[in-house]
Structure formats: C-alpha cells, structure tokens
C-alpha cells in the first residue's frame, strides 16, 4: 500500500488544513473499496500495476485536491474582458511602438549601433522588458483589487441605464470641427511662429547669460527653416479649418505628413553629437569643457531623441488611423447616398 500512501500524502499537501484528515480518510476508503472489489473479482491480490491503474484513474493529486478548494480567481469572468482589453491597449499602443522605434534605430542609425555593440545592443531593450513587466504587474494588481471590491460591494449590480453615455450620433455628415477650436489653434500657432521668428534676433535676451557662452551644435542650426515651414503649415491648416469646418479629415492627414517630417528631422539630428558646445572652447578651462561634455552625455544617456522618436511614432500611428477613419466617414455618405441605409449602419461601427 506504499503507492496509495504516497498518493494520499501528495493530495493532502494541497488540501485546506482543517479538512485534510477527513478528506484523506474518505478518499482512502474509496480507493481501498475499489481495490477490494477488484480483488474479489479476480480472486487474487492485486499486482502493483493494477493498484497503479486504480490510483491513476482517481486523477492527479493537484487536480483531486483542487476540487475541494473554494473557487478562487484573481480576476473573475466579469472583469477579465476589461483586463484583457487594457493589456492589449498597452501592448499595441505603447510597447509595440516602443519596439518598432528600437528596430528602426538599430536598422537605420549606424551611430546607435556603434554606441551599443554586441550584447550591449540587446541590453538597450532592458528598459522595455522592465516597463512591460511592471506595467503588467501593476494592471493585474489593480484589477485584482477591483475584483475583491466588486465581489464585496456588488457595484456592477447597482446600475442605472440613465447613467450610460449618450448614443453616438447617426448623422455623421453633420460632423464639423468647432470654429472656436480652429480660431484658438490659429492664434496660438501665429504666436509660436512670431516667437520662432524672433529667436535669432532676441536669443541673447532669451538665453542670457548662457547665450554668449554656450550654443547649439552648428549642424542643428540648419533645422531652423524646416521647423519654420512646419509651423507655417500648422497655421495654414487652422486657417483652412476655419473656412471649411466640415473637412474633418484634413487635420489628421496633414499632421500625418508633418509628424513624419518631424520624425525624420529628429532622427537626423542625432548625428550632430555633441548637441551643446562652447562658443569659445579655446578659452575654457578643462573643468568647463568637462561640464559641457557631461551635459551632452546626459542628453545622450537620457535618450531624449529616442523618447521623442517613440512619441512621434505613436502619434504617426494615431494620425494614420484617424486620417483613414475620417476620410472614410467624409466620403462614405457621398458614395452611399441617402437611399442606401447600409452605409449609415456601417458608419455606426465608428
């Protein structure tokens, strides 16, 4: 009976302490009775293999014990779909773009590869793994707390249909960008353009006392005009939207292009290391030179351009999706016409 004892001991380990003895005695009697019946049928003692068969049929110790345990779920079936949705959103909207940016940098930026050779290149991904691990752990913890609260307070049972958000408007052709939004955007863009234009003339007043001592790397100065152009495009966009508020597809389409250009500019700017230099390096002490070197190293280490790159790629994905969706919404009634109800029902999906 050594095999039976070993089996019962394994089951006992997983059982609730208060019920262990009781359950094990009952299980022992059940298996013993099965063996007695089999012996009576065969009219001889059972072989070890036959005992093993009976025990094996009873099930894995963990499985048998689990049936006696109270049902326990970290996140139950009610909250699980929301939990899975949140994790998917984090994966697709943050972690995946992060990975894509890293791939782009590894593929197209020799300077990045040169700075991280061999295994150090894979080591640059450690931030992503840490971020993914802590994010998933935190989301799981939050939902586990929600689950406990939900079970105790039953807040999902106390609901009122009148508190649900208003239904989406079916008449999409009437969608317009509010004029006040375009006007605010236009004014703020013009103010930013004025500030940008004033920058070369008034830089001494703006950045004094650092302006006469420190400067951006000479290569970075060539970005002045492209940025000026991007600002002008933004002003033109607000102007058009003020004039044609129903062209809701235009802002995301234009920003898709301008964000792509900005991304290209940011990526090409990384080649101008060191980003900040002394205006008169020859007259500087070794300590001063070391300070600015440290400043540049910090900028490089913090991956400012890298973080900006991630933000821009995420923005690109969002604008691409928005452009496609808004263009489709804008064009769809024109193709479908009022007599085609299918067009309207499809548009409700968005």
């Amino acid at each position: 009976m050594e095999l039976l004892d070993r089996y019962l001991q394994a089951v006992k380990f997983w059982l609730p302490f208060a019920q262990q003895k009781d359950i094990i005695e009952e299980l022992r009697d059940e298996l013993q009775s099965q063996m007695d019946d089999k012996e009576a049928e065969l009219r001889r003692p059972l072989t070890e293999n036959e005992v093993q068969d009976i025990i094996q049929r009873s099930g894995h110790p963990l499985l048998v014990a689990s049936r006696y345990l109270p049902p326990g779920q970290l996140i139950g079936p009610v909250l699980f779909p929301i939990y899975a949705f949140v994790l998917k959103m984090i994966t697709f909207c943050y972690l995946l773009p992060w990975l894509l940016v890293w791939l782009v940098m590894v593929t197209f930026m020799p300077s990045y590869r040169a700075a991280h050779t061999g295994l150090a290149l894979l080591g640059t991904l450690s931030t992503l793994w840490n971020l993914a691990f802590y994010t998933f752990a935190l989301v799981t913890l939050v939902f586990a707390i929600f689950e406990r609260v939900q079970k105790k307070t039953k807040w999902l049972e106390n609901w009122d249909p009148r508190q649900l958000p208003p239904a989406a408007k079916r008449e999409l052709r009437k969608q317009r960008q509010p004029r006040w939004e375009s006007l605010t955007g236009l004014v703020s863009s013009i103010l930013m353009l004025i500030a940008w234009l004033a920058l070369p003339r008034f830089s001494q007043q703006l950045f004094a006392p650092a302006s006469g001592i420190l400067a951006l790397a000479p290569g970075l100065r060539s970005y002045y005009l492209p940025i000026l152009l991007l600002m002008s495009v933004e002003i033109a966009l607000h102007g058009i939207m003020l004039w044609r508020p129903s062209w809701t597809w235009l802002p995301s389409a234009v920003r898709l292009v301008t964000t792509a250009v900005t991304l290209k500019l940011v990526m090409s700017a990384t080649q101008f290391y060191p980003y900040i230099v002394w205006v008169t390096p020859a007259t500087r002490s070794a300590h001063d030179l070391a300070s600015v070197n440290q400043l540049n190293e910090t900028i490089l280490m913090l991956n400012i351009t890298f973080s900006l790159g991630i933000a821009l790629i995420v923005a690109l994905c969002v604008y691409a999706g928005q452009s496609a969706l808004r263009l489709w919404r804008y064009l769809q009634p024109r193709f479908a016409g009022p007599g085609n109800p299918g067009a309207l029902s499809r548009s409700r999906l968005f």
């Binding site: 009781d22 005695e25 009697d29 059940e30 013993q32 099965q34 049929r57 499985l63 049936r67 006696y68």
Partner: protein, 115 residues
C-alpha cells in the same frame, strides 16, 4: 461542403453542463437512503448515472456544508466510513427540485413535439 458534426470538446462541455444539475438531484434522491461514498457511487452507476469519485466527494461536502446532507463516521467491515443521508432541509429541497425538474421536462417535451 461544411462539416456539420459538433466538435467533441464542445459536445462534452454541453453534456457536462446538462449533467451537473441533474447529478445534484440524483445524489439527493439517492441519499433518501443512507450511503457511504463508494456504495452511493455504485448505486448511481447501477441506475445508469456514472459519476467519478473526484466529482462525487467534493459535491457531497458542498451539499453538507449547505445543510442539505448530514453525515457521520461509523465503522463497517473493519474500516471507518462516512455515511451520508438527506437532512430535513435536504428533503424539502429535493421535493422542490423535483417539481422544477418535472416542469422543465414537460416544457421540453412540449417544445420537442411542436418542433
């Protein structure tokens, strides 16, 4: 041409769901007479309702904790056995469950006749 046979796993899950409620009624009905686990299992098996020990014993404990069964340890054939039988609450519950089962059965028969 599409395959119209029901996937085995799906059928098994549906069968389990259908059996789950019926098994509780069957166990309660069988325990109108006193049984210990092994003889109860054999009695149900003899009536055509096979149930494995991994399902039966946790079910017996649950029904007892819900007050539908009472049990006691007694020695029989030189071995300690736990005997179960219906409690007064269990008898009342069985009666109501059987009424419910008859209603469902009658409704289902009617639906099947109409179909």
């Amino acid at each position: 041409m599409a395959n119209s046979s029901v996937p085995t796993e799906l059928l098994e899950n549906l069968r389990m769901e259908l059996r789950r409620g019926c098994l509780i009624v069957a166990v309660l009905a069988q325990l109108q007479q006193e049984h210990y686990g092994y003889t109860l299992r054999k009695a149900l098996d003899d009536q055509g309702l096979a149930i494995d020990e991994g399902t039966l014993y946790p079910l017996l404990r649950r029904l007892e904790s819900q007050g539908l069964l009472v049990s006691e340890w007694r020695e029989e054939n030189k071995r300690n056995k736990r005997f179960y039988r219906l409690s007064p609450v269990g008898e009342q519950t069985l009666k109501q469950l059987l009424e419910e089962w008859h209603t469902i059965n009658a409704s289902l028969s009617k639906i099947l006749q109409e179909a």
